[in-house]
């Protein structure tokens, strides 16, 4: 109940916050919300069960395609089309997650990473072979601002609202799951598979379930991207994007949902900010720096974080929160200099 109230509060705050942003910032906010949904799923999967998926972009793409086709097929008022699209996104990505999870239950670390990596590389091929519209991708329906609100807000802000609400719907169950008995079972399996088996926890079932629970938010994130950009293309969900999701999860701190929010805002805003800066550089250098400088900094950050400071941003916040009262409460035993 407390979690639900908190989720409601954060959602309302975020929606209120959209009034302070210009249309482009609102568009970026929608992208960040989409990333947040996917990264939250990924961070729970990696942090709690230790299964590294490099293929979450594909799960997002599955959700995006499901949304685009279902929402286009529904001929009715817009809320109906939206709901049908979201349901399809959840079902399609959930099914793909189930398949992957069934494989993941049998595979250990590097083997699973290899399978998901091959999946990412196979996505453009699948888009060309299956009826998914090839490299051009599939168009997603446009959701205009409802008439009652049309005088008040721009379309980017409306899409940001939709994105925030969908992300909240996607992430809240994950928070509940993580703090409940399912989360406990996941940690048990990560710590010791044999011991958890002896305690009547089936590692295979837990791993598969975790994959599904992580795939559905990712698919809903893909649906949000489809709403914001009105299309789904295989090129948008390549290896670089998949790795960016991993970066966001690691920067935020694996296993932490709040960290996922920080990480996804960073990976959405920082590349844009750095490219703006790089555009100031002289012509040829600017062209070379474009996109690459951000990647370079992210890579360096990833290495630095993992070697020096494995907790990520979330641990830093925890430590600051914990450190402050401690410093005042405990009398210092060492003489200060």
């Amino acid at each position: 109940m407390k979690t639900l109230l908190r989720a409601l509060l954060i959602t309302l705050l975020a929606i209120g916050g959209t009034f302070a942003l210009d249309p482009f910032r609102n568009y970026q906010l929608a992208l960040a919300a989409a990333c947040f949904a996917a990264v939250a799923g990924l961070t729970v999967l990696v942090g709690l069960t230790g299964q590294l998926s490099l293929g979450h972009a594909v799960l997002m793409a599955a959700g995006g395609y499901g949304f685009a086709f279902a929402a286009s097929a529904v001929d009715g008022p817009w809320p109906l089309a939206l709901l049908a699209g979201l349901a399809a996104a959840a079902v399609v990505s959930g099914l793909l997650g189930l398949l992957l999870g069934a494989a993941a239950a049998r595979l250990r670390g590097p083997y699973l990473a290899g399978l998901t990596l091959a999946l990412v590389i196979a996505l453009p091929a699948a888009a060309n072979t299956l009826p998914l519209g090839g490299d051009q991708g599939a168009p997603a329906p446009f959701f205009p601002v409802p008439e009652a609100l049309a005088a008040l807000i721009a379309v980017e802000q409306w899409h940001a609202w939709l994105a925030i609400v969908v992300a909240a719907i996607a992430v809240t169950p994950l928070v509940v799951l993580r703090s409940g008995s399912a989360g406990l079972r996941m940690r048990a399996v990560l710590d010791d598979e044999t011991a958890s088996r002896l305690s009547a926890v089936d590692p295979g079932a837990v791993k598969t379930g975790a994959f599904v629970a992580s795939a559905v938010p990712a698919g809903l994130g893909g649906a949000v991207l489809a709403i914001a950009t009105q299309q789904v293309t295989p090129g948008g969900y390549g290896l670089a994007f998949s790795l960016l999701l991993v970066v966001a999860a690691v920067i935020g701190g694996l296993g932490s949902i709040g960290g996922a929010a920080i990480g996804s805002v960073l990976v959405t805003v920082l590349p844009w900010l750095i490219d703006e800066l790089a555009a100031l550089a002289p012509d040829d250098l600017g062209r070379r720096l474009d996109g690459n400088l951000a990647l370079l900094l992210f890579g360096a950050g990833l290495i630095a974080l993992t070697t020096a400071w494995p907790g990520g941003a979330a641990r830093l916040l925890d430590r600051l929160r914990a450190a402050r009262p401690l410093r005042f409460a405990t009398p210092s035993t060492t003489t200060e200099r």
Partner: protein, 292 residues
């Protein structure tokens, strides 16, 4: 039938390169229990070094030697500078650091050299021999096959027949015991990384002239396929890398020839899924300890 023979022979050369790259992944896995996701980026950095030397001196062979040395050096540096600092017995940090290294190396190369494809001249003709009216291997394909076979044979000799190989294997399989018996385990692990990266650089050097040209992402697909090969063969097994490498090379060649180039990644994914469903540890997996 002509086409089948041509595709088979093309697949053989492709498979040799794949097997060599997969073997480099197996070496690193066996010495350090890490899958080096940065292998492609490190190999491509070595190819850039080779490209620069070939452009400066005009000799392909000087470039080749430079590339191998650069690969070995880079492998040693990465092991000493990064991988050694990570906690042992947890696979995740190694994979994540390697992914960070990929981003740094590829972005750095793109900033330094630009994103263009730079054509690389092979030292031999790529025009295939015609035998009985059927185009088969080209001189360059033969060079590729020969180089890959020679390096794999040399590595097999080194690991199985030399005292250094014995120490390398001891350091990988029983680090504590090996250390007690006087093997310098950290040095052996560095050496394993250097060997592995040199082998990967050779595979990349052999591949790049047959593709569009040199670019920071030129080896990415080779890495993904080679990783699939290593996983199919069983990450612990050099023989598995060889068998699966040739097999996947033939498969990719046949699928590209008879269906389309874009269907090849799907075929590799399907083969990998199938193998892992039947044998989760790969074809040549060692027996696992029983669990409850």
């Amino acid at each position: 039938m002509d086409r089948f023979v041509f595709l088979l022979s093309a697949g053989l050369a492709r498979g040799a390169v794949l097997a060599l790259f997969a073997l480099s992944l197996v070496i690193v896995w066996r010495t350090a229990r890490v899958v080096n996701f940065a292998q492609a980026a490190m190999a491509v950095a070595a190819v850039y070094a080779a490209f620069a030397v070939t452009a400066a001196t005009g000799s392909y062979w000087a470039g080749l030697l430079t590339g191998l040395a650069a690969g070995a050096l880079l492998g040693a540096i990465v092991e000493r500078g990064l991988m050694r600092r990570l906690p042992a017995h947890a696979p995740l940090p190694g994979i994540i650091v390697a992914i960070g290294l990929v981003m740094v190396l590829q972005a750095g190369l793109a900033i330094a050299f630009g994103p263009e494809h730079r054509p690389m001249q092979p030292p031999f003709s790529q025009r295939p021999f015609i035998i009985g009216g059927i185009p088969v291997l080209s001189p360059y394909d033969l060079f590729t096959l020969g180089a890959a076979a020679a390096v794999m044979a040399a590595l097999a000799l080194l690991f199985n027949r030399s005292s250094l190989g014995l120490r390398l294997r001891a350091a990988a399989f029983a680090p504590e015991t090996a250390r007690l018996l006087g093997v310098r385990v950290p040095r052996m692990i560095t050496l394993g990384w250097a060997l592995s990266c040199a082998a990967a650089s050779l595979a990349a050097l052999l591949l790049v002239p047959t593709e569009l040209g040199l670019n920071p992402h030129a080896v990415d697909l080779l890495f993904v396929n080679a990783f699939a090969v290593a996983v199919i063969g069983g990450l612990d097994s050099p023989a598995g890398a060889l068998v699966a490498g040739i097999g996947v090379g033939l498969l990719v060649s046949l699928v590209t020839g008879y269906a389309s180039a874009s269907a090849a990644p799907l075929a590799v994914l399907a083969l990998m899924t199938l193998v892992l469903l039947v044998r989760p540890g790969g074809l040549f997996a060692p027996k696992e300890a029983r669990t409850a």
